[in-house]
Symmetry: C3
Subunit: 311 residues, 3 copies
């Protein structure tokens, strides 16, 4: 069975800890464990950050990369080719495919015909499991644990892939409490709430951010995704939840602000605060993406059936 | 003299067999014969499949790649630079250029000023010789011969580069018979028919696909190229010639369906048939592109005057 | 302090000569001095030539490249991310960033937050210091000196980054004389004239190109940059200053025509003259870009505080 990475649920606590350990190693010591391997980064939606971090991860491990920045416009897709046909063919040119696609479920479809492991790098409103990995890896590095944490998730929780995936992973560890803070119409959807109930994860919904901030370990901010919601919803939501110099003071010194980035007006802190204050964790979080992706590429390309236990 | 690859005619039967042998070797055994070499893939028209297979081929042989996905929009072309100037300059940055361009004759023009070998990866309605190479390599692997074959070529034969190039190569081997099946206005052009007559290759023109299918070794399907013909011609031609579950039964068990891909509605078979039935050769055909391009890159970068005999 | 390359002024005569010597070495002898290093080429404006030459330079030195062709359209920039945030993140994925951006001052802004050296590959109407480097390197190779030269700069001197940067560098060497030849409204701006006065560099302004040509060592032609000026200015300027077969005869045999390329109608010489006549230096100039960029990458990635003296 191929080591496809489709959804964050498939990572067991054991695999997570193995990946964190490997990422910590690769951060300090070069290992050319992917020499002779080729990674294809196939992006139907632009995402410079995600693509460049995968490309860099592969290079650092000695592998090679073939890449397309915008498969939607620049490929045989415009001639009407189906995704599964593209995957069939590209999977005979490489050892692993990182796929970003605008359709929910695209990665799963791709995994059914691919000859090599598929890594889902975002499928529409679906999932983005390596973002979830770097999020929990960041929490692990900042707090040295993944349990007994209070986490506020703030912003567009309806379209946000990252918060959905993060809920799945946090649900695997005991004692966590989640506080959802979202504008009207952009609340966290019921399937996630059902999942959390099943996993006995405590959660509440709040509407006033400043009431929440003094009491949490992590505030996970997200962008209002203009491109995925109606203009009306966007106007209502824009600027509603912001971390600025005023309410920043409400956050405890050993708490952390996370964000999947890019951030726009929902974080409004001066550059020097962002550079110096330990509470600003989101740039460390982005950097962690490089190391956890290195660990993941090593795992799925060098270990057989690594997700066997998880399904 | 540089080893430019401009048109399929330049491949003699001897070079073809040398390339097939090398491709078969490289399929099973790594050879880093292009370490220290740089390939430029310069695409003025998008073609993910062709570009990625060249990029992958170069990497597998230890070489490096510099690349542009859409030179038309993203380069000095929009500032008015001529192709020959671009080629002059880019050819001083690399050891070989793969060129895809929308103008017929572009590769030949480029070869006149380039300091390094040019590989034509498609020039408008002109040629696409490495597609022709992978086509005959596929025929060779499926039938263990390139002679005494009956081949139906179906679809838009007027704009189809691949069928033109394939005619040139099949004309070099004895005993082949070609059946052209095309919609009105999209017939194979006279220059190819003249060539085949000169080479004593038997050919006929048919209009009913199902009459042809029971009797051929290969049915080579092509897409109606909407982007190269008038809307009126497209409407008349679209959907006229299709392989579907019904007429698929007319094809003998040891015959083969080929297609340069991407395919759209002209092949309408269920995924599981495409996955399992040996008659479906087009995904193997696409994969062969990788190995024959590896063989070709090795040949033109490591052997002097390799096409001397052919001109 | 990081070895950022922001403006041509920062290159002292000593560094220039060190770079020229290294470029001459690397031209003839491979040196894999950047193995294990990763270069990011981040282009917010298209520039195939500049990007491909940096990519090739990095590969030739054994390094790896991560790249984006059009960061403006294809990145988180469209989601509203600021340049400094992008730089913060991308700089944690690589060892050096080559940045092309449409805003003047972008490279300087980037250098303030980057964890790795920034190389300015053009910032709007600002500078393009590696173009200036290859220009002076070309002059050095063609004339074996950078002093006592008469140089005509012709065309759109107002928007031309290259001529501005070249003035800064020529001002560091004694005995040079500059002749500015430009259409009305596109004259060299005052800040450069002030700089030249301060450096005791003689300069004059002329309007008739043919009067100038017999007397110079170098005529540095530039394109009228339609994309940076008003349509009215463009119409007045277009075709005003041209080197063609007639006035080409006015240029002395040991003089040189340079051009940052791409050129359009401002150079109108037959291909065979461009190929053979020694006075046509602009294709050698473009090739020099590869070697001087190799030397520069080696310098800033392998030597500490290399620009310490210059500021």
């Amino acid at each position: 069975m191929l080591n496809h990475v489709i959804e964050s649920q498939q990572f067991t606590p054991e695999i997570l800890l193995e990946l964190f350990k490997r990422a910590d190693e690769l951060r300090v010591k070069t290992d050319l464990c992917l020499i002779g391997k080729i990674l294809a980064t196939l992006f139907y939606e632009p995402s410079t950050r995600t693509r460049l971090s995968f490309d860099s991860a592969m290079h650092k491990l000695g592998g090679r990369v073939i890449s397309t920045e915008n498969a939607k416009e620049f490929s045989s897709a415009i001639k009407g080719e189906s995704l599964v046909d593209t995957i069939r063919i590209v999977s005979s040119y490489c050892d692993c495919i990182v796929l970003r696609h605008y359709d929910t479920g695209a990665a799963l479809e791709a995994s059914k015909v691919s000859k090599v492991p598929i890594i889902n790098a975002g499928d529409g409103k679906g999932q983005h499991p390596t973002q979830a990995l770097l999020d929990v890896y960041t929490i692990y590095r900042e707090f040295e644990r993944l349990e007994n944490l209070k986490i506020a998730m703030v912003g567009d929780l309806a379209s946000g892939r990252t918060v959905r995936s993060l809920c799945y992973l946090l649900g695997k560890f005991p004692g966590n409490k989640i506080i959802f803070v979202s504008p009207e119409n952009l609340e966290m959807s019921d399937d996630i709430k059902e999942y959390l109930k099943k996993k006995n994860v405590e959660f509440v919904e709040e509407t006033v951010l400043d009431k929440v901030l003094p009491d949490i370990n992590i505030v996970y901010m997200t962008r209002i995704q203009k491109e995925r919601i109606s203009l009306q919803d966007y106007k209502k939501a824009k600027g509603k939840y912001v971390i600025n110099q005023l309410n920043f003071q409400l956050i405890k010194k050993n708490s952390r602000i996370m964000h999947p980035l890019p951030h726009v007006e929902e974080i409004d802190l001066p550059i020097d605060v962002e550079q110096i204050d330990k509470r600003v964790a989101y740039f460390r979080q982005a950097e962690n993406g490089l190391y956890i992706r290195m660990a993941l590429l090593d795992l799925i390309l060098n270990k057989e059936n690594c997700f066997e236990e998880s399904y």
